[in-house]
Symmetry: C2
Subunit: 402 residues, 2 copies
């Protein structure tokens, strides 16, 4: 099975917005063993839309089109699909009923513009949109099925799962196992995991700084025990780089582990300057776990707020193992938490030296059994150094949580 993706809208062609829908669709289609053959973006002109539909339909038996279902003049998807298939348009009683119901529930009248959203090509199947006002539709023409979904990501994602996936995938969809890793480059993961006997699993990746996600896609026929064997083999070569199977990101995984153990956390950040706190705090329900965060960008703040001895700073410098250890210990002690972390480093572009080049970071985790420390020189620009350093802290904490 293969698919072509067609996204519409002048705002993509002018660079006003980034087309994240296509990347999300491509990844989600890979997960259910459907190939994307072709991706294409055109503006709102009717002739361009009809042209692009022809191109997409010539390249795959299924086309997923996003955008152009809104109430305004430049929303021309229904008109373009009708023209491409050589059919008329009509108001769908089903679509109109859905729109009316949605507006009634909100106590709002339905306008002529909204009513336009019920007009679809003759012969379409209406795809209900319970997450927004624009119903979608699908139409089959000369062996190609076109699914038309809204461009609003949240609506598009729900409707894709509800209406498109069941029509694309076999009765027995594949099983996907997601293994999230930190600390190994994608090229190295490709080499080591790719060299293993993966049975009938297909290997995929998803890169999202600072982590790399490994995806194993098993056909439904694969025996669960066999699947377990393969996952175990991959886990074996990943070692501690693997931090969760089918779980959330580093922050979600750490917060879940701390919550499960009823434990608490305090952070002392210098070069990351609140990035780790902010990341952890994006996990709903984190308030039982995250107690204090200290952003200690200056030497004075390290002394005044955390009580780090000035002599230690003078002797070793702010970016050093003793300071990272002291930050973790003092954050923990001052906050009365089970865990404390400390991080200090040089994010760049300035501030580096031969002894401590840009990217140098010292991280420490203080816990019930003592303090552990790691040191690294992280490549990349200022933002990348900070993101990877934040990941390294959470990964080290995760390892200590066991």
């Amino acid at each position: 099975m293969s698919v072509a993706l067609l996204s519409t809208g002048e705002e993509v062609l002018t660079g006003e917005t980034v087309d994240t829908n296509s990347a999300w669709l491509a990844s989600s289609l890979w997960d259910v063993d459907v190939d994307v053959r072709f991706m294409c973006t055109v503006g709102d002109a009717l002739s361009d839309l009809v042209d692009a539909l022809g191109l997409a339909a010539a390249r795959a038996p299924v086309v997923i089109m996003t955008g152009g279902l809104g109430p305004t003049e430049d929303d021309l998807t229904a008109e373009a699909v009708a023209m491409w298939a050589g059919v008329e348009r009509e108001e769908s009683a089903e679509a109109l009923a859905q729109i009316e119901e949605r507006y009634r529930a909100r106590g709002r009248p339905i306008s002529a513009a909204n009513r336009k959203q019920a007009v679809v090509p003759v012969g379409s199947s209406v795809l209900e949109n319970r997450w927004g006002s624009a119903p979608g539709f699908s139409l089959e023409f000369e062996g190609t099925t076109v699914f038309c979904l809204p461009g609003v990501p949240m609506e598009m994602k729900h409707m894709f799962a509800e209406w498109v996936v069941p029509g694309l995938t076999p009765l027995n969809p594949p099983t996907l196992v997601r293994m999230r890793t930190f600390g190994l480059a994608e090229s190295r993961l490709q080499a080591t995991v790719g060299a293993l006997d993966l049975g009938d699993a297909v290997l995929g990746f998803r890169a999202h700084i600072p982590e790399v996600q490994i995806k194993l896609r098993f056909p439904s026929r694969t025996d669960p025990d066999q699947r377990k064997d393969v996952v175990g083999r991959v886990a074996g070569v990943l070692g501690p780089a693997l931090y969760t199977i089918d779980g959330g990101d580093l922050a979600e995984t750490v917060v879940a582990a701390l919550s499960a153990q009823g434990q608490t956390l305090a952070l002392a950040e210098s070069c990351t300057a609140g990035m780790i706190s902010s990341w952890v705090a994006n996990v709903p329900g984190v308030s039982s776990v995250l107690m204090n965060g200290f952003v200690l960008y200056s030497n004075e703040s390290k002394v005044q707020l955390l009580g780090i001895p000035e002599s230690l700073l003078a002797e070793h410098g702010a970016v050093s193992e003793p300071i990272a250890r002291a930050m973790a210990e003092h954050a923990r002690a001052k906050s009365g938490t089970d865990w404390g972390v400390g991080i200090t480093g040089i994010a760049g572009p300035g501030g580096g030296s031969d002894a401590k080049p840009v990217g140098t970071v010292h991280i420490a985790v203080a816990g019930p059994a003592g303090v552990v420390h790691r040191h690294a020189v992280i490549p990349g620009d200022r933002m990348q150094v900070r993101l990877r350093a934040a990941g390294a802290v959470l990964h080290l904490l995760h390892c200590q949580l066991g």
Copy 2:
């Protein structure tokens, strides 16, 4: 002048990576008054590449192709362009010399795979790559010029500016004015700014949560005084929502203003939990400005670390005007800084009530002239609420800085 963009690589079609190159190119082309007519992505198969080149060339006189210039087997751009144009390939002495020079400078030998990167279609112009190992090239065929650039964003951006832009734009390129705004929705900006007499300027937008950037593109013929009039007219309707013309983002603008005045900042964050500190700290050279950050996720931490009176918390609740004001004042006093900010709110999805729904935030800025406070109910999911709240804090601080 119009252009078609062609990006290549299986990793985009499988959703492994997001194609940010196309969005960047689209925005940069808009800035120099070049229309993008068509964007398309295909995988690494030679036949798909040749097919896509044909589609792109039929739709615009200039094609910009990214990716497929590397040293590996699946880097087939030179082969595809040669096949599309019906020419042979040859090793370019110019390209080889550039590659050899680069490797020599690093004291590394050049491999057979690297040498392959010097092979281009006969008749090509080599485009020097001073930022990476793969030279690009351009080729004209039947009225279409194809520019082939590396897929690595940093290399692509430099080479686009150096080799593509001069060939695309007229002798007198347009002048771009970027006006960065916070606090007004894009639809409202479109309506109010779009209704003004903009002379011969073309209006564009770039949305990047939590800000919206307005772009005014003036033809080179526009008189500077006339340009000033138009910019002034737009600034007039934007009011305080406009925070910079041709400057950096909110954090860069605030840090620049504080630096210029030799002033310092401390932050006390609850719902944003370090996001503002982290954002501010991504500005290089921030260490003379950012002193302390307090992440106060719990009531206890507000009391213990900042000395907020328990009675105040008991009387008003943590998400309230008095607590935001106290956080700003205490952060400033405890840190001895010129400015202190406080933010407390309900990011969701849980924790809301009728009186304080999800999205409720109270923010305060304490400075030499006293404390100002704002209150808002921000729409969106947890991350959006936090991003917009962080923007609101920096915007309020910017307004106070004058």
